[in-house]
Symmetry: C2
Subunit: 337 residues, 2 copies
Amino acid sequence: MRKPTIKDVAKLAKVSISTVSRVMNSPGSVIENKRNAVLAAIEQLEYKPNALARGLIYKKTNTLGVVIPDIRNPYYADILRGMEDASKRLGYNLIICNTDRDKKRLFSYLNSFYERQVDGILYTSDPVYPDYYNELMRLKIPVMLVSTHSMEYELPSVKIDDEQAAYDAVAYLIASGHRKIGMIGFDLTDSIAGLTRYHGFIRALREHDLDECKSNIVYVNDWSYDTPDAAAQLMAKCPDVTAIFTASDELAMGLLCYLNERGISVPEQISVIGFDNIRLSHIMIPKLTTVAQPSYRIGSRAVEKLNTIIEQGEDTVLREYLPHEIIVRASTRSWRG
Amino acid sequence: MRKPTIKDVAKLAKVSISTVSRVMNSPGSVIENKRNAVLAAIEQLEYKPNALARGLIYKKTNTLGVVIPDIRNPYYADILRGMEDASKRLGYNLIICNTDRDKKRLFSYLNSFYERQVDGILYTSDPVYPDYYNELMRLKIPVMLVSTHSMEYELPSVKIDDEQAAYDAVAYLIASGHRKIGMIGFDLTDSIAGLTRYHGFIRALREHDLDECKSNIVYVNDWSYDTPDAAAQLMAKCPDVTAIFTASDELAMGLLCYLNERGISVPEQISVIGFDNIRLSHIMIPKLTTVAQPSYRIGSRAVEKLNTIIEQGEDTVLREYLPHEIIVRASTRSWRG
DNA sequence: GTGAAAGCGCTAACAG
DNA sequence: CTGTTAGCGCTTTCAC
């Protein structure tokens, strides 16, 4: 029942283990009849090289570690899928870990990545706080920030321009004639999905002389499952809004649900624009207008970049921004002031 | 920049590498002052043992491989989350692979699992076809079937009783007074989520003398993203149904979307009951009645079972069934015949 | 108690 | 071209 090793193959093929090793790594350097004997033995024993032993020597495991807040969040699931496909293409396997944005959990996983000698780390969780950065540096393992970035530190990243994307969403609403606009955003302590999108919202308002809307905003912690509750808070705060921008499609779905229950029709009475373009957004009621992130591409691009860093030591572009796009569907309409 | 090894620690602590090894594995057997010296050296160098080297010796990698159709499917995402939490608790890491239900892709990943010496495999994809079974057996690695099972082969599994769950869903509709019932199901070639739920549907009809509804069914291949399309097909086939059972919540969401566009109100004109109880089902419009699978628990239980098989060689219960439950929300109502 | 040495499975000089 | 040998980093006898 023991798995066959290179020795077993060598014995069966009546050659030395180095010859077996050669037929696997540089077949041309082995004379044909011996090579065939080895190949036959490999076939017969169903031999497959032990990746641990190889990894020990090559100091390369072809494994990437990924830390992600929660795989159940469809936005991250899309990114992960992009990572996975690119990884398969480039010969890596992914060790995926959910951090729940918890520091202990994150550090514990990073430690495990180190021990397992992963070739690189895909960091898709939270901004990079100073102590996180230190921990990451201690590991001496290439890191790629995904859907997050850092201006303080020289860490490579792939993401969209969140500030601009939020700006575009709100500007779209304004261009459609809306003058009373609200927002459901993520906590401002989240400097990536929270603060930046808030900034985009504010900038759009200011540039269009709508400063009075500045306080029409409600925040949720991370990926709240009580999204209708956030909607309720916002509507209590500013009942007269005609359009709402949400920082995620989940939030938008909760909002849609809340408005529907209150008998407020979308988009007739209130327009809603989401963020992310998750796969379900086109079967929401009504179909959701949203700013699309190239989530899958963010994931795959991140792996590609990480791979070039692993192989070449560095990459040309440090902070890479992928284009976002507004997908107009049925949840928004123009407002006849 | 090289990672410190046990040798570095030994040198710094002025002891042999065996002593270092001992303080890590049986600290009691090392005299105190030496132990402290070693501990100090470990601290100073930030030394962490190389899991590859250890794995080579112990023949245990504390890694589990999981094959799953598509991580973007929220049902599987929930299962994965359960797996992940249990894995963390039990000291494993997960290598997650999306198969897209593609045989080549699956086999390629299984092969990679073998080479990487994973301690066990979580198989959450497709029924176990004969050639899949053979491949699995060749690996000589413990396998756990998750949300799928096999009656032909002696493979351990964790899932719900799909036939009964579907039966219960349909029986619930019937008990609510519905007599014209339709179903959107998965392809019957899918012996797990397709065939069994179809059987449950049929049995419920037969036991309640509703055989005339037997053909009110439409099938989709796997997790179709054109769920509204399937809904359209069903409504064309049997426009007079008053209740529809869908084999997944995604399908239900697509149906809800389609019905809404056609101006057919749910549940007033048509009741809808889904399957899975994904996290979003409680913010659908209307909130979805569904048969809940304990998805998270299925994932965590699977890891627990696999762990006992890995550690003890076998488990008490081979095929384990977890309870399902009907969650009544707003998408169904009783029918006054 | 502790160091020397063998070995996990494999690759990579190094001779021949 | 191919076998022998020396490791990769760590654990584990086996003597001392």
